[in-house]
Symmetry: C2
Subunit: 381 residues, 2 copies
């Protein structure tokens, strides 16, 4: 413990980026607008978009987004005054985080609010985190920003390997990460893949998204990404915000996105969430959806091509059958005959197949399967 | 898709390591012993240790381990014949994986068994994975090996940053990973931190284990590991096998291990699992436990030192109170007066504190808190 160093309590000296300044200005002008209203003797208000299911739409572009229904928070309204004040408090904290150039989670935000407001106002406004979460969503929508842009970090999950080089500016330092040199581990997908991140080299033919980490590890060991010149990504189950955003960005680079999932309720759900986005994040629209994504399997129809799979099916559970029926009821799914066929086989046979089953004949078959599917363009849309 | 390459189906050319050869020999001699018994006209058998709670002990050394109760699987016994055959099948598959120099998960093993046995024996021995899981544990105990040594990968979770350089030999390649150069992401802790992994440089004063990833991200942004010359590890909640094994290995290098957790049921559980191991992995004993670990907080007694924490406590839930009572009943906890005091405060006040609360006054306070605790050696044991 001899070589003790001082922890600097001052804000990071790394100067704010252009993007940071835009965010700060958006927050500042929100505040200025409120002051103007107060000075003009009006009740200040704050407008946001309704985020309930009734306002979620699915359009021709293939992703979920919010409709036009708006909601107003008015200060001089007994029912809304508290929420209004909270929203302003959240915005003020986020502006402070931007100025400090520091990040925290919404749990950290919650405690900052609890600390400050508890002291200044002698009232515990933020008993439960669910309240601050909702207010953050309000701000995201009203300012047309993601919470990551407001220096709020989110749960992160998932890893990447392949020919991708990233420049990561974070905590006042800059590092270059080469995703071909991450060994058995892979590069951990961060909360924010936009601010302070630059993809300085992406030289691959396609992106393979693999539901399960175990299968990712299998393909990583086979150096599949090197042999096939692709990126392999696993969201490790349901994709995090960061992972979904990463996939969107890779698709924006015109890279094909192929999803390799279980043929069951979870696998389909994870795929469709990546492709169309999800109900509760519909307010982020295309920023977090990748309608270009294609499903390479596993499918029940694979049994026609790979006879051995027949004996490696397992019994579908109630949740799988219910989900299959639900998916058939969505117009953006039922118009694809391949999907209808797939889901009907599950409902008829009451069987499902896991991607792990491809290891039955030999461990390396997983890679052979993916390669064949990609070569023959055997996808579901 | 022009630059297509052939996927090699042959086994990896990377030669087996000395450790791999020892494992293969253990598996081979198990097989030879069985053959010898059969040739001698005896019923072959297989011995393992009882893994139920009745055989789990906690000794002076401070970790959970198995007692002496043994169990025999005899082939010529109607009730045991099936299980016996399965155990041999699992051992044979693991030997094959070692020879191929390839890894899979126990789900992959399950499907390999289902594929092979279904064909050769026309009988579905492995309907459910729970069966193959139990058999893998049998083998681990009988051969005195971890499943990771048998080329079986496990769920992985958790990240590391700090002055640690690793040489990772995997999939026939070798990479060097510098945990000071992983940016916002950190180095993802793999399933296996033993085989093919070498810690070529570890130059830190201590190891800080942080329950929540959000707090890890906070300290990583502050470059806490650089300023304090420590490693920061987050298990992201309950520690994976790989993470627990990594902590054990770092403690073997005489590095102090400090655990920074929530003051609640989960935080205590995660700490005690790292320290003493857990009931269901008691068969791995000291290999996966770190009795040297110390608890730096958050504690209820912190309120005496940091007044602001009083207003950032939250209500304890039923599970927290129940857990506190349970912990007080363990002799290896109740003999530490500091722990008794802590748990009693929770039971009396029905309050708890999360580590996130330390961000209340300012985001950088988290690091100040940890530094002060470490400097003043304010630990619970």
């Amino acid at each position: 413990m001899a070589k003790k160093k001082e922890i600097s309590l001052e804000k990071s000296d790394a100067s704010l980026t252009k993007e940071d300044i835009i965010v700060k200005e958006k927050l500042t002008s929100l505040g200025k607008q409120l002051i103007k209203e107060i000075e003009a003797g009006q009740s200040p208000y704050f407008e946001t978009v309704v985020r309930g299911r009734s306002n979620v739409l699915h359009g021709e572009e293939g992703y979920l987004y919010l409709g036009d229904k708006k909601e107003k928070r008015v200060f001089l309204n007994v029912a809304q005054a508290k929420k209004f004040m909270q929203t302003v408090a959240v915005a003020a904290k986020c502006k402070k985080f931007k100025e400090e150039n520091l990040h925290t989670s919404i749990r950290g935000l919650f405690y900052q609010l609890k600390f400050t407001l508890g002291e200044d106002l002698d009232e515990e406004l933020f008993e439960e985190q669910s309240e601050s979460n909702e207010l953050v969503e309000d701000l995201e929508v009203a300012l047309n920003l993601k919470r990551e842009d407001l220096n709020l970090s989110t749960d992160r999950k998932g890893v990447v390997a392949g020919n991708l080089v990233i420049r990561d500016k974070f905590g006042g330092e800059e590092t270059e990460i080469d995703c071909t040199k991450q060994g058995r581990s892979g590069w951990m997908i961060p909360s924010d893949v936009d601010n302070g991140m630059e993809f300085i080299d992406v030289d691959v033919d396609y992106v393979l998204v693999i539901e399960k980490d175990a299968l990712w590890q299998r393909l990583n060991e086979d150096k599949f990404w090197k042999k096939e010149n692709c990126l392999i990504i696993t969201p490790k189950g349901q994709a995090s915000r960061g992972c979904r955003r990463l996939i969107r960005k890779l698709a924006d680079m015109k890279l094909p996105i192929y999803c390799f999932m279980d043929c069951d309720a979870w696998g389909w759900y994870i795929y469709w969430t990546i492709k169309t986005g999800s109900m509760n994040l519909a307010y982020l629209g295309r920023n977090i959806a990748t309608p270009e994504a294609k499903f390479i399997g596993v499918t029940m129809s694979d049994i026609e091509r790979y006879d051995f799979l027949k004996k490696l099916t397992i019994n579908a559970k109630e949740v799988d059958l219910k989900r299959a029926e639900e998916l058939l009821s969505y117009p953006w799914i039922s118009r694809h005959q391949d999907w209808v066929k797939e889901l009907k086989i599950v409902l008829d046979t009451k069987k499902k197949i896991e991607q792990d089953a491809l290891q039955g004949p030999r461990l390396t078959f997983v890679g052979e399967y993916v390669r064949e599917k990609v070569e023959n363009k055997q996808f579901l849309y």
